[in-house]
């Protein structure tokens, strides 16, 4: 994330400079009715503010899709690892052995919970604690913290999707309003109400709304999808934690 911010910043600066460079061309092209009506032409003729909006929307769309790709990979991998860990866990393998094999690299959610709980357990016994009364409570706490960390990892950046999904149309609409405003100003300046004068400005303005929608629609769809997936995986983690905590508490009672 920290590496990404500079790249994003450079992207924005680059876009802004191109927008500045083209702003004069855009304003002069507004007056001329014979406009380039291709997409790139619409962009180049747009007002500076509209250009900024468009560039922001493009960047946010890129960012949203990066998050979508990332999250899809993450959720898929998490689900597979959970399946594999549960398979190993319920295979009747000794918990001590499992802990020893996993202790070096607890890089997955369920394993991290298991390792955290086992570490607390072993630390209590190997430390030669007198009372086991607080152990159960401590283990639950440790597991809760680990679950919270893992869920936070799953849900990270989903807020970006939510923000783009809700604010993207408004940003695009702002660009549209601004573009229509400037095109009406152009009409007032040229005193010509011919549709050929108005049309390019309105087309370019509507282009901004289109980009806002293009960015916002996938963001909203994937936000809902990822939120439900994250909550389902969090529930699965909590279920595992409860089960494991029950096993450990039985062990404590047996030993105590």
């Amino acid at each position: 994330m920290k590496k990404l911010m500079p790249t994003l910043a450079t992207l924005l600066v680059l876009a802004a400079t191109t927008a500045f460079a083209q702003s004069e061309v855009g304003s002069s092209a507004l007056a001329a009715p014979s406009a380039n009506i291709s997409l790139i032409g619409l962009f180049l003729q747009a007002h500076f503010v509209v250009k900024l909006v468009m560039i922001g929307l493009v960047v946010s769309s890129i960012w949203v899709w990066a998050i979508i790709v990332d999250k899809t990979i993450l959720f898929g991998r998490t689900r597979k690892e959970m399946d594999r860990f549960e398979q190993v866990f319920w295979s009747g393998q000794s918990l001590e052995e499992l802990y020893r094999s996993l202790a070096g690299r607890p890089n997955q959610a369920m394993a991290a919970i298991f390792v955290a709980a086992m570490r607390e357990w072993k630390r209590t016994y190997e430390g030669g604690a007198k009372s086991l009364t607080g152990l159960n409570h401590r283990i639950e706490k440790v597991m809760d913290v680990t679950i919270a960390r893992e869920v936070e990892r799953l849900e990270s950046r989903l807020l970006v999707l939510a923000t783009v999904g809700s604010a993207g149309p408004f940003v695009g609409l702002f660009g549209t309003v601004w573009g229509i405003m400037t095109s009406f100003q152009a009409i007032a300046a040229s005193k010509n109400t011919n549709l050929a004068v108005v049309a390019p400005g309105i087309a370019e303005a509507l282009f901004a709304t289109a980009m806002g929608l293009i960015a916002a629609i996938p963001a909203t769809i994937f936000y809902n999808k990822f939120v439900s997936q994250a909550s389902r995986q969090a529930q699965r983690l909590e279920g595992f934690a409860d089960e494991f905590s029950a096993i450990l508490s039985r062990q404590i009672d047996e030993r105590g």
Binding site: K3, I37, I73
Partner: protein, 338 residues
């Protein structure tokens, strides 16, 4: 995260390129060009002189008609043509054909004249004393022949003169007879030349030298003109005359405070002779709130009535001035509204 960002950037670049290709030039609407309206700039006089006709009519010069007018026969050297010429002359005096057998001139002629004379004379006098009448007639004819003038007498006598060379036989024969043999020979020639294939040519009594002459004729096709042009509207000069006339009779009310703003519209209906059909009607006065408005409208009405018979208006354009709305204002003194 980096993988996601790279994938996303690549995908966006691909989409942008695709959009640039597919939306590069939106196909323009196929709008049919409206049919252009031809506008002719014409002067007022051209408008008033516009005749009614088909707008798309061709300004055709109508084909000259060749008149079947026979020029005075001229002597032609071709013998064949001469024959027809003489036939014409023969045709002009059809009665003689019976005499063609005139090898013996004196005898047949005498009997003939006698039958015609009784026929002609019978209607005239009931008593029928032909012999008694005969003696005087020849004398007169002789005189006429001698004078070579058209006989001043009646047609019957003319016919007699042509057909009757009888009573004065001795003197006239020498002169009259020589021409007659010629027609006989001519007849013989024409009969010899009679050819069934040339009946039409033979029947054509017109001389071949007839001249083409232009004849007047009525144009059958609609000539060039505007569909609504009637050349019946009032010309500017007519309107100006009407304005001047009414203006001379008009005494606008003096002292109106807002005189410049007052306007009255008065509808007038004329009779065909230029006199008023009904009392002029005030159709509108503006501003109606002005206290001088009624007086102003009344003055205008009075002006129209006072000048009443507008005999100078062209009667043939009565349709265009039988119902006129006239606007009165002190600004323009008088302006025709419609």
């Amino acid at each position: 995260m980096r993988a996601g960002l790279i994938a996303s950037s690549l995908a966006h670049a691909g989409v942008v390129v695709l959009a640039l290709v597919s939306f590069a030039t939106p196909s323009p609407f196929d709008t049919p060009q409206p049919e252009p309206l031809n506008v002719d700039v014409i002067t007022a006089s051209e408008f008033t002189q516009m005749t009614k006709g088909n707008e798309r009519g061709k300004k055709t010069e109508t084909k000259k008609v060749v008149a079947e007018k026979v020029d005075a026969p001229k002597p032609v050297e071709d013998p064949n043509l001469k024959v027809t010429e003489k036939e014409e002359i023969k045709a002009s005096a059809p009665p003689p054909p019976p005499p063609p057998p005139t090898p013996a001139p004196p005898r047949p002629e005498e009997p003939k004249p006698t039958p015609p004379t009784p026929k002609v004379e019978e209607p005239k006098p009931a008593p029928t004393p032909p012999k008694a009448d005969k003696p005087p007639e020849p004398k007169v004819e002789q005189k006429a022949d001698e004078g070579l003038k058209a006989d001043p007498k009646k047609d019957q006598q003319k016919q007699e003169a042509q057909t009757q060379p009888p009573p004065p036989p001795p003197q006239r024969r020498p002169t009259v007879i020589p021409p007659k043999p010629q027609p006989a020979t001519a007849n013989a020639q024409s009969q010899e030349k009679f050819d069934t294939d040339r009946i039409a040519a033979l029947l054509d009594k017109r001389t071949p030298q007839r001249n083409a002459a232009a004849d007047q004729q009525v144009s059958q096709t609609a000539s060039l003109g505007a569909p609504r042009g009637e050349a019946q509207t009032l010309t500017m000069s007519d309107i100006a005359a009407l304005q001047a006339r009414i203006q001379s009779c008009w005494n606008p009310p003096a002292g109106a405070s807002d005189a410049g703003d007052l306007r009255a519209v008065i509808s007038v209906r004329f009779k065909p002779d230029g006199s008023l059909q009904v009392q002029p009607q005030v159709t509108g006065v503006t501003p109606a709130s002005s206290p001088y408005a009624p007086a102003f409208a009344d003055s205008a009405t009075r002006a129209i009535i006072r000048c009443a018979p507008y005999t100078f208006l062209p009667a043939n354009k009565y349709d265009s001035w039988k119902d006129i709305e006239m606007g009165f204002s002190l600004d323009q003194m008088l302006g025709r509204v419609r």
